[in-house]
Assembly symmetry: C2
Homo-oligomer: 409 residues x 2
């Protein structure tokens, strides 16, 4: 968790770290600045608080982080523009000389983090490596310092995650109630005036509800019916009416507008009735889901839970990524993922790797599913769970798991 950063730096032999990136969202920076990124350049020496450097326009935002903040003006960067108007490299080198000097960074291993322009950063890091030979700039491709830090959440983060979970569940229940308030005609859901209710209508309703609850939907929800639901990431066709008796995969993963934390949940609904084929597959997915939920224990390898799902679903005759690598039908993804300020964080739940263990403070999804586009359906059920300080597993996703959504309109 966040208080482990110095220890995680020590483990990597890092004397300092820098977080690069421009104005785009930057989860490393959001994490270390408590959500107040302010487009800043961030430095942290091991054992000292992180320091932000930003411009006049962003300085008020930056101060809300609680971290020490510098203005670029404090380093007289405008002099460098006058001195080297056509030499971006020299402006960069001289700027970093001033930052390093002020912050007392004189050499050693400097961890490089952040999100931004990859080609520009590649050239800049080559430049800094050349001009600061006492420093080694070190990136991480996997199991990074931030990956490790965010794998466990502290109490303040858990409170934020619980709150976004609560509101997301209210929105999904509201969507259920909204659809249920309609009636059917000729096998499709219709409004009072007899015109079809479309997937686009439902998504618009859900977006309004998200907004009412202070949530945004940056990645775009999935509301995929029938064959579309058989492609795990198909978002669904807005023009399509809602049909009775077709499985709908509704995967909602909004972000809190204030804190930036996510929730992630999926339900599969079949309006009016479910076909025996869908009901059977749904029950099988739920068997896998319940098998996992009943066995989550602190200290267990996460890949064990993927294996439980593979065992259950293969037993029911579904192809999987283990029995049939490269299959596009059956169970074709991993069981879940951590989440926080990013929608996909550690721990991971694939059978292909054995690196994570369930820990106190984990927040992750459990989301088995099966996908058969040619048979006209997909099914997925997903809760987000967390592991409290006593090691007890809690689902943050309170919404019921009824498959059949009856119309009452």
């Amino acid at each position: 968790m966040k208080s482990d950063l110095d220890q995680l730096m020590a483990k990597r032999g890092l004397d300092a770290l820098i977080i690069l990136g421009g104005e785009m969202p930057n989860p490393h920076r959001a994490y270390i600045t408590n959500g107040h990124e302010a487009g800043a350049l961030v430095f942290k020496k091991r054992g000292e608080p992180a320091v932000m450097i930003t411009n006049t326009l962003e300085i008020e935002n930056a101060r809300q982080s609680g971290l020490p903040v510098y203005n670029y003006n404090d380093f007289n960067i405008h002099e460098l523009w006058a001195q080297y108007p056509d030499d971006a490299d020299m402006r960069t080198v001289r700027s970093f000389e001033r930052y390093f000097e002020r912050l007392g960074i004189t050499g050693g291993r400097i961890g490089v983090y952040g999100f931004g322009d990859i080609g520009a950063s590649w050239e800049m890091l080559k430049l800094l490596s050349k001009h600061f030979p006492a420093m080694t700039f070190v990136g991480e491709r996997e199991d990074t310092l931030f990956d490790e830090a965010v794998t466990t959440k502290d109490a303040a983060e858990i409170e934020l995650l619980k709150d976004v979970a609560r509101r997301t569940n209210l929105v999904m229940q509201a969507a259920w109630d909204f659809i249920a308030g309609h009636r059917a005609q000729d096998g499709v859901v219709v409004r009072a005036d007899g015109t079809p209710l479309t997937i686009g209508d439902v998504k618009r309703f859900v977006r309004l509800k998200l907004l009412e609850h202070g949530l945004e939907d940056p990645e775009g929800m999935i509301f995929a019916q029938g064959r579309d639901g058989g492609f795990p990431h198909s978002q669904g066709n807005d023009e399509e009416p809602l049909y009775l008796g077709r499985a709908i995969v509704f995967d909602l993963f909004p972000r809190d507008m204030q804190s930036g934390y996510y929730h992630d949940m999926t339900r599969t609904w079949s309006i009016g009735f479910a076909t025996p084929e869908v009901q059977k597959a749904y029950d099988e997915v739920m068997t896998a889901f319940n098998a996992v939920m009943s066995q989550i224990r602190v200290g267990e390898r996460t890949k064990r839970y993927q294996e439980i799902v593979l065992d259950v679903l293969e037993e029911f005759g579904h192809p999987t990524g283990r029995s049939d690598p490269g299959s596009t039908v059956g169970y074709v993804h991993s069981l879940g993922h951590g989440l926080g300020l990013q929608i996909h964080e550690r721990p991971g739940f694939t059978h292909l790797r054995d690196r994570d263990v369930v820990q106190v403070g984990n927040v992750f999804t459990v989301e088995p599913g099966v996908y058969y586009p040619d048979r006209g359906f997909g099914i997925r059920v997903e809760d987000t769970v967390y592991i409290d300080e006593q090691g007890v597993v809690h689902s943050l996703t309170s919404m019921h798991k009824e498959l059949v959504l009856p119309l009452k309109g």
Copy 2:
């Protein structure tokens, strides 16, 4: 524009380019895939169409780009996981061997673009450089290929930008009408029941209207009153009531949910009446604004327009970034910026650099302002303009520029 990519590659001596990055929004990738990023790895050989590689989950999304699409399964990447379960570097090297071979990329200069994890990309590019000695991986820090390409928009992009502009202006007019429908009591705007209308209420109304018009607000609008408006990037205090006679800077820069293109506009309003001090500063900013708008010509250096504003505002006695470098009051930013799939693109309008010329197909903002937090106000006025094929300047921002917003409620 987009049809110039091969020529822009030739100018840089690039034999191919790759666009790296993960699942986060990646404007280079969005541009080249016509908005269908699908989390893909993108390769483009000079003179050939770009090619996307993605996973089974995203393949349907990727196909909507109109580009050739490969599945990672086509390269048997899962074999590599079995072969090198604990060696990410070897998996990467062997994967890229297969991609390069299939796409016929054998050597030369390979441009590196895209947005993503900077530290991970730094290590990956060092690895690829070592293992593919016939290839030189080249990033660009400034005036990049994509910067140049997006500086001029093609007809299809202009239509998308006009459409998002039209809807954004409807939303801002609706916000004006919403506020105007209220009444005042004791110097604050109140609802029918006498409770104050807050900035948070206005923002909620605006977000609903954006949603109705298919727009999202990923960066968060600015609705900053009084002293807050004196900090150009302060977003405003949601808890604060709207006061009569205080300048409000309302900067709205939403993105179209479908196409991803932005509009960007700012108005300054003073409810009920304006103080003489604010009215005078507003008139001065409008003088600068009109001076620029009347003089925009194809072929002129963009820095000329920043200089026009500096001349006008300095003449009126305002400190500026030229007269008083590092000042935090007066006119403290540059005049504008191009926009498209990113909120800040080329051309730029700073007096500190002379690199851009007004061109046919440019779409950019014109946004002079003055900022005096200690005097309790800031003022900014911003239109987005484009230059048509005949070189005629059009504002895409049709909303009126009245300062005083009268209450009719």
